[in-house]
């Protein structure tokens, strides 16, 4: 019974992974190696028309402008994540520590963005009035506005679990609020900041909806260009190119995850279950 049981679990796990994850990923890889005619009806079968890896990947690379899209994505994600975390932490410190009905109301409004979707059409109108439509800074500020709520929600909850004494000591020693915040509070927030960083980077890196409205046609990002590759009428059934592009756009994050897997996993979970 014991040995039977200890065999069932690993076999079940491997079978589950093969079916649930293996099949979709295999479809992507094998289709990205097929000729256009061969890929018309996507299947799990091996290419019948020869392997076309090099050809498909080269075409998707140039037609999807992978380099420009990658640089575009990076130039949006990095400043947006930094601003969300910095401004979010500063606000959360006040909201977590100080009390009062007025601040409770501010907190409620500040976290409302978790459930309230941004009014994207009037947002575009506003960006045009501010001359920020189609610009990098417009896109960054839009993401900051959207994800500050999430950051404030998690960071405030985390700060409330930190005892007051630590910062009291610094204050008694004569440290001003700016120094207390940057030298005492911010380092203590590491677990929750790691969680928030990874989540927010994932959301922004893979977003196509807001990018479409704010910078669509003006800037390249990896998901925007996938949308373009897949929506262009010519590519209606070009599954080989779509999936060749999918592999290329997924590689940066997959490589990053492979390299820093342990830190990413402990980062995600560190601040989530406090």
């Amino acid at each position: 019974m014991r040995t039977g049981r200890s065999l069932i679990q690993p076999v079940a796990v491997l079978l589950l992974v093969a079916v649930v994850i293996g099949i979709p990923l295999w479809l992507v890889v094998v289709t990205s190696a097929k000729s256009q005619g061969d890929a018309l009806d996507p299947s799990l079968a091996l290419p019948t028309d020869g392997w076309h890896f090099a050809q498909n990947y080269a075409r998707a690379f140039t037609e999807g402008r992978v380099i420009r899209a990658f640089l575009g994505s990076v130039s949006i994600v990095v400043p947006a994540a930094v601003l969300v975390l910095l401004f979010g932490s500063m606000a959360s410190w006040v909201l977590a520590r100080r009390t009062g009905a007025w601040l409770a109301a501010v907190y409620a409004v500040a976290i409302s963005g978790i459930v309230i979707p941004p009014a994207v059409i009037t947002l575009v109108l506003l960006l045009r009035q501010l001359r920020l439509a189609g610009t990098l800074s417009g896109m960054v500020l839009v993401y900051v506005g959207i994800y500050l709520s999430t950051a404030i929600f998690f960071i405030t909850g985390f700060i409330r679990t930190i005892p007051h004494e630590v910062e009291e000591a610094a204050r008694v020693d004569g440290a001003g609020p700016v120094r207390t915040f940057f030298t005492i509070i911010l380092p203590l927030l590491r677990p929750v900041l790691a969680t928030a960083t990874i989540l927010i980077c994932l959301y922004i890196w893979n977003d196509v909806f807001f990018a479409f409205f704010v910078i669509g046609g003006r800037m390249d990002t990896l998901p925007l260009n996938l949308f373009q590759v897949a929506s262009a009428g010519v590519y209606l059934n070009n599954w080989n190119l779509i999936f060749a592009y999918v592999v290329q756009m997924s590689l940066p994050l997959l490589v990053l995850f492979a390299v820093a897997q342990r830190r990413i996993i402990s980062g995600i979970t560190g601040g989530a279950v406090k």
């Binding site: 941004p118 506003l126 890196w205 897949a230």
Partner: protein, 293 residues
């Protein structure tokens, strides 16, 4: 401000300013605009914008799009919250022990979390074609010829989409539940075992209470994700068949493309109100329950 050092508030309100300023301009102001433009005839067809009272609301109510989309949004959010948590918890319990195979499985299940939702949508569009791989596999297993149109079934396509959405995010929910399970001390489980508690009782009365923060996190992120979802539905069905999978962002994308700005703002306004009425109590309830425990 008092001269005495200890009287001065330790956390100056100015620290709120950058975050609140950005949220005010890029989140609240568009929402207020939304409130105003919902009562106008703003469109791309004419340059003037006039107030039309509640005509837009009457229109969306009359043509049934409002109630239809509202239903679609609520079902989508609720099903995603349920499936994502069920899959995540099930996987966490299955892969709880730190064996080599379990670590490998966790890594693989996390891969979809890293992928773009748009890419996931295209993958499933290809998988679920009537002559696609899923039907081929099902035909092989059952010995019957199955040609089910997964993405063209007015009754069930929405259900399949919520399963795809949950497939993409279940790896994240799993990690959070695994971390939650790790917070349970071995002593507590040991004590339960000595008391003769069976596996199911141990799960229900010992593990579940410890998982409360994980549930809050997962429900909150599932709600956030499903309310703002666009990519998966766009890449698989584009809102069809017959608008049965038309979640809010698909509607906005479609009406924006048609130049019907006022209609789009009206719809989003109504949906946002209804969604907040539903979602806020959920989050507050979860937080409060956590504090009790």
């Amino acid at each position: 401000m008092s001269v005495e050092k200890t009287q001065r508030p330790a956390q100056p309100l100015t620290f709120l300013v950058p975050a609140l300023a950005i949220m005010l301009v890029f989140f609240l102001v568009p929402s207020i605009y939304n409130l105003v433009y919902a009562f106008t005839d703003w469109s791309s067809f004419k340059s003037s914008i006039n107030f039309v009272g509640t005509r837009n609301f009457a229109n969306v109510l009359q043509n049934g799009v409002l109630l239809g989309d509202l239903k679609v949004n609520v079902i989508y959010a609720v099903l995603v919250a349920i499936f994502q948590n069920l899959f995540g918890l099930g996987l966490a319990l299955l892969l709880e022990r730190d064996t080599r195979i379990n670590r490998f499985a966790r890594t693989m299940i996390f891969v979809p979390v890293l992928m773009s939702a748009l890419a996931v949508g295209y993958i499933f569009q290809a998988l679920l074609k009537p002559v696609g791989p899923v039907n081929a596999l099902l035909s092989f297993v059952t010995g019957q010829d199955i040609g089910y149109a997964w993405l063209n079934d007015p009754d069930r396509t929405l259900l399949w989409l919520t399963l795809i959405h949950s497939w993409k995010w279940m790896g994240l929910a799993m990690l959070i539940y695994l971390a939650g399970l790790k917070t349970i001390s071995a002593d507590v489980l040991e004590a339960a075992r000595i008391d003769g508690v069976n596996r199911w009782q141990a799960f229900l009365h010992v593990k579940v209470p410890y998982l409360a923060p994980a549930v809050t996190f997962n429900v909150a992120t599932a709600l956030l994700g499903s309310m703002n979802s666009f990519d998966i539905a766009q890449a698989t069905t584009g809102g069809g068949p017959g608008q049965t999978t038309e979640i809010l962002n698909i509607f906005i994308y479609r009406t924006f493309g048609q130049g019907l700005f006022a209609q789009a703002t009206t719809m989003s306004l109504v949906l946002v109100l209804v969604i907040s009425l539903m979602a806020f109590p959920t989050i507050i309830l979860l937080r409060r329950r956590e504090r009790v425990l």
